[in-house]
Symmetry: D2
C-alpha cells in the first residue's frame, strides 16, 4: 500500500559480529514489587528460585544461550560470538528474552509462592551488550557476581541489625563507611552469624549452564522407556570469578 | 570494583527528540501458538479481546502512551513527541512494553480462554520507531490498519472456501491473483457473507484511546461513593485512516 | 574472495528520513592553527572569507545543501527533509563535506593569504545531526548565531583591552562576571568603539544561500553571449534569529 | 542560551571498546577525477605515490594509527584495540582522517604532478569499522589486498589489449569469463608481459608502517648534529596476506 514507506523509518540495529553477546534483564521497580509481595529480607528463597526457573525456561526456548547468571531481580544471558539469532538484531534479541522471562514469571509464580497471589504484572527491562574478548566476558560476569556479594553482605548485615531491634535509619548509620571486614565482624560478634556459612545461592548468585543429563523417555515406536543424554539447563551456585569454574567447564569459552 | 569498566561497552541508544515514538510488539511464532491453542479461524474473538486487555493494562501502567492500535498478534503503542520516558532509551522502552504485555497475557489468559489451558509462555518481539511528522504517524497507523483489512479479507474468504469443503491448497489456488472486489464477490455469491456486515473488530482492528469516564469510588474519609472523571483506556473499532477519527479526537495530535 | 565476510562488520548508519539534516564541520585545533598562521585578532577577515569561499565551493558541488551558516572555524550545512544524498548515510555525508571543505581550504588559501604560506594541512571534524521540525532547525541556527555574537563581543572587548596596554591575564580579570551591557560600555567608554557599528560579518557570521543570479555565458552554438538566471551561492551577513530573514526567503523552509 | 537544547539532538556514536578500528577512505568519483587529470592507465605512479604521501602525513599527525594500507583511490588506517582517540567517537575519527587526507592531497599535488594543474578539489568518503579479533583484522587487510590483485590483473590485461589496438568494448569481451590463469596467459603470450615481474606497488598495494629510523637533528643547546632513533612511517609493497609479514613485524598485533 501507499503507506508502506513508513517501514523505512525503522533503524537497522544489528550488533557487531564475532563478539560475545550479553542480554541483561532487570526487574522494573522491584523495590516496590518485593514489598507488595512481601519478599523475605534480605533474600527471598522463593523469589530467587522463581527467577532461576524463568531463566531455565528461557534457555530451553532459546538454544543459543550458553550460560545465564542471576542475582536479585536481574539475569544475564550469554550468547556465543558466532551467534546469529535474529541476524543479531539487538531489539529482537532483547525484547524476546525479556518478554519470555516475564511471561514465565507469571506462569510459574504459583509453584513458588503458592496461595500468595500475584498482585500485578512483573516487568523487566532488557539490553544487549557486546563483549569482544573472553576476558571482557569474564570480567562482565565477575562484575555481576562481585555486585551480588557486595549487596548481599550489606543487606544481610543491615537486616540482622534491624531484626535485633534497631530502626532502619539507625542500621544505615551503623553501616555507613564500614568495610567488608567490618560487616563480617558485626555479623559474627553482634548477631552470631558466620557470613561464610550462609547459603551459596545468596552469596554467589545462580549460574545456569547446560549439563549433560541422562533422561528417560518413552519411545513412540516401542512404547518402552529409552535412555539418552541431553543438555539440560541446571543451576549452580559457584564462584565464577576465579579460574576454577572455567577450567571445570572448558567448553563454555570454546570457539563454536 | 575493577570489573566496572565493562559498563562502558553498553551503547547509548537514545532516540531522536521531538519525534513520535511507536513501539510495535508482535507475537513470536503465533502461527504455531494459535494452532496449539486452537484459535478459531479466521479470527478468534477471545484472542483478540485478550490482546486488547493486555494493551489496556500496558496503557494503565505506562501513562505516556496516548493511543494503541492492535490486530492479529501485534500491537502498536504511540508515545508523543515530547515523551521523555527512560530518557528515550530505545531498549528500555521496547523491552518494558514487551515484557509488560507478555506478563499480562499470561495473567489474563484464563478470563478469556477459561479452562483452555495456556500450554507455554507467549513471547513478543518489540521495536521502537521514530516518526517526525503527524502525517508520518498517521501513515504508520494507516499502514497497520490497511494490513489488517487486507489480511482479514483474505483470511475470511479463505476459511469460508475451506469450510465449504475445499482443501486448503484448493482454496489458495482459487484466491491466487484475485482482487479485493473478487473476494467480496466470492464471499457474497458463494458463501452468503456480506463482508461489510462483519464485526468491526475484525475488519478494522482495535484502537485504544484514553476516554474521559465517570468513575465512582468510595471516599476513604466519608465512606460514601464519590464520582469523578478519569481518563480510562477504551477500545474502539473505528476507521483510523480517514480524517473523521482525527477530527473526533483532536487532542490526540495536539502538542503537549 | 573468502575474506569478503568482513564487509558485514560495517554498520548501517542511515539517519531518520523526513528530518532536516545539519552537517557541522569545525576546524581541529584552530587555536594553534590561527596562531601559527598569525590570524588577526579578534577576527581575521582573510580567514573568514576563505571559510566562506570553501562553503560556497561545497555548495556548488553538493547541490542538496540549501543553506550554510559559518562563524569562527566552523560551518553548518543544511540539507532538506527530503534529502536522499548517499541514501542518508551519516558517515558518507559527514566525511565528504569535511574532506571537500578541507581540500578547498588548501586550494584557495593563496587567494586570501597571498605569500603567507600555509604551514600544515588544515583539518575539520564533521557530524550530522537530525532536526525534525522547522522550529528545531531555526533554533539550531539561532544557537550558532547567538554563539557567534557572544564570542565576538567577548573577543572584541578582550583584544581592545589588551591593545590598550593590559596583559591578557589582566584583561580576562576585567571581563570576569561582566554582562553583555558591560562589555558594550567598556568598548564605548574606554576604547571609543561602538560595537553596533562593527561589520556584520563579525557580529552575525556568514549565511550562504542560493540566489537567483543573472549569468552570461558564451553559447557553444552561436559563439554569442547568452544570459540566463542561475542559482548561485552568495554570502549574507544577516540576522537569522528573527523572523524577517525567513520571511524574505520563504522558499528555504518550503517542502520540496 | 535558550537555543542550547538543540545540542541534545546529536547522537552519541562511540564505537565498541577493545576492537580494532579501521578507517577506510575512498576517493569520491575518482573515475572522473583520474580522467580529468589524465592518470596513466592502468596505474599512475604519481597518483599512487601522492596517495602514499598523504597517508604518511596522516600517520605523522595521528599517532594512534599503527598501519595503513592503500591501493587505487583508497586507504585503510588501522587503530589498535586500546585506542581512545576522540573517546572512540566514530564521526570525529572518520571525518578528521578524511579531511586531513584531502587537504594533504592538495598540498602535495605539485610535488608529484608538477605543472599538471589540479582542476578541482579531491574528496574522500570515510567510514570506521570495528574488528574484534586479530584474525578479523588480518582478513580485512587480506580482503583489500586481494581486491588490489584482482583489479590490477584485470586492468593490466585490459589496457594491454587496448594498447595493442582493440577497442575498449572488444577488450571487455575478450576478458569476459576469464580466470586469473587466463589473464596471465594472455599477458604473457599476446603482450609479452610477465605479470609477476611488474612492480610490487601495483600488484600488492602500499603498506605504511612505522619503522625505527636513525634521524639526525641539530641540538638546540649545542648547535651540533645529534642522532636518535625515531619511528617514521615508511611504505612497503609486501604481501600482507601471508604469515611472513606478521612474523616480520610482530609488534603490530601486540597488545598495547
Ligand atoms: N526483600 C527482597 N527484596 C529483593 C529481593 N531481590 C530483589 N529485591 C529487591 C531489592 C531492590 O529494592 C530491588 C532490586 O534493585 P534494583 O536496583 O533493580 O531496583 P528496582 O528494581 O526497584 O528499580 P529499577 O526499575 O531496576 O531501576 O529488588 C529479595 O530476595 N528480597
Ligand atoms: N486462527 C487464528 N490465528 C491467528 C489469529 N490472530 C493471529 N493469528 C496467527 C495467524 C498468523 O499465523 C500469526 C501472525 O502472523 P505473524 O506474521 O506475526 O507470524 P508469526 O507470529 O507466526 O511469526 P513471527 O514470529 O511474528 O515472525 O498469528 C486469530 O485470531 N486466529
Ligand atoms: N585570531 C583569530 N582566531 C580565530 C579566528 N577564527 C577562529 N579562531 C580561533 C579562535 C579559537 O581558538 C579557535 C576556534 O575555537 P574551537 O572551540 O573550535 O577550538 P579549536 O579549533 O582550537 O579546538 P577543536 O579541535 O575545535 O576542539 O579558532 C579569527 O578570525 N582570528
Ligand atoms: N587511470 C587510473 N585510474 C585510477 C587509478 N587509481 C584509481 N583510478 C580510478 C579507477 C576507478 O575508476 C576509480 C576507483 O574506483 P571506485 O570504485 O573508488 O570508483 P569512484 O571513485 O569513481 O566512485 P566512488 O565515489 O568511490 O563510488 O579510480 C590509477 O592509478 N590510474
Ligand atoms: O538500574 P541500576 O541502577 O541497577 O543501574 P543500571 O541498570 O546500570 O542503570 P540503567 O537501568 O539506567 O541502565
Ligand atoms: O514479521 P513480519 O514478517 O510480519 O514482518 P516484520 O515484522 O516487518 O519483519 P521483522 O519482524 O523481521 O522485522
Ligand atoms: O568543540 P567545542 O568545544 O566547541 O564543542 P563541541 O564541538 O560541541 O564538542 P565536541 O567537538 O567534543 O562534540
Ligand atoms: O564504493 P564501492 O563500490 O567500491 O563499494 P563500497 O565502498 O563498499 O560501497 P559504498 O561506498 O557504497 O559503501
Ligand atoms: Mg537498571
Ligand atoms: Mg530492578
Ligand atoms: Mg536490579
Ligand atoms: Mg515480525
Ligand atoms: Mg507474529
Ligand atoms: Mg504479526
Ligand atoms: Mg568541537
Ligand atoms: Mg575548532
Ligand atoms: Mg570552533
Ligand atoms: Mg565506496
Ligand atoms: Mg572511489
Ligand atoms: Mg575505490
Amino acid at each position: 500500500s501507499k503507506y508502506e514507506y513508513v517501514r523505512h523509518f525503522e533503524t537497522v540495529d544489528k550488533v557487531l559480529p564475532n563478539t560475545w553477546l550479553v542480554v541483561r534483564i532487570d526487574g522494573r521497580g522491584f523495590h516496590r514489587f518485593s514489598q507488595t509481595h512481601e519478599f523475605q529480607k534480605p533474600n527471598d528463597r522463593r523469589a530467587l528460585e522463581l527467577m532461576n526457573q524463568c531463566a531455565i525456561e528461557v534457555m530451553k526456548d532459546i538454544k543459543d544461550i550458553i550460560l545465564a547468571y542471576g542475582q536479585s531481580d536481574e539475569f544475564s544471558f550469554v550468547l556465543p560470538k558466532s551467534c546469529n539469532l535474529y541476524s543479531r538484531r539487538a531489539s529482537k534479541i532483547a525484547s524476546t528474552v525479556a518478554s519470555l522471562f516475564a511471561a514465565n514469571y507469571v506462569m510459574h509464580w504459583g509453584k513458588y509462592f503458592g496461595d500468595h497471589k500475584l498482585q500485578y504484572a512483573p516487568c523487566f527491562d532488557s539490553r544487549v551488550v557486546c563483549y569482544p574478548s573472553d576476558q571482557n566476558l569474564r570480567d562482565y560476569l565477575s562484575w555481576r557476581q562481585a555486585d551480588c556479594h557486595i549487596n548481599n553482605l550489606y543487606n544481610t548485615t543491615f537486616w540482622a541489625i534491624v531484626h535485633s531491634g534497631k530502626t532502619e535509619i539507625e542500621s544505615e548509620e551503623i553501616l555507613r563507611g564500614t568495610f567488608s571486614k567490618d560487616k563480617h565482624e558485626i555479623l559474627f560478634t553482634n548477631h552470631n552469624i558466620n557470613y561464610n556459612k550462609l547459603e551459596d545461592i545468596y552469596k554467589k548468585g545462580s549460574t545456569i549452564i547446560r549439563k549433560k543429563t541422562l533422561v528417560t523417555s518413552i519411545s513412540p515406536n516401542t512404547g518402552k522407556p529409552v535412555e539418552r543424554t541431553k543438555l539440560v539447563p541446571c543451576a549452580l551456585y559457584d564462584d565464577i570469578i576465579g579460574q576454577e569454574f572455567w577450567d571445570t567447564y572448558p567448553e563454555l569459552l570454546k570457539e563454536r
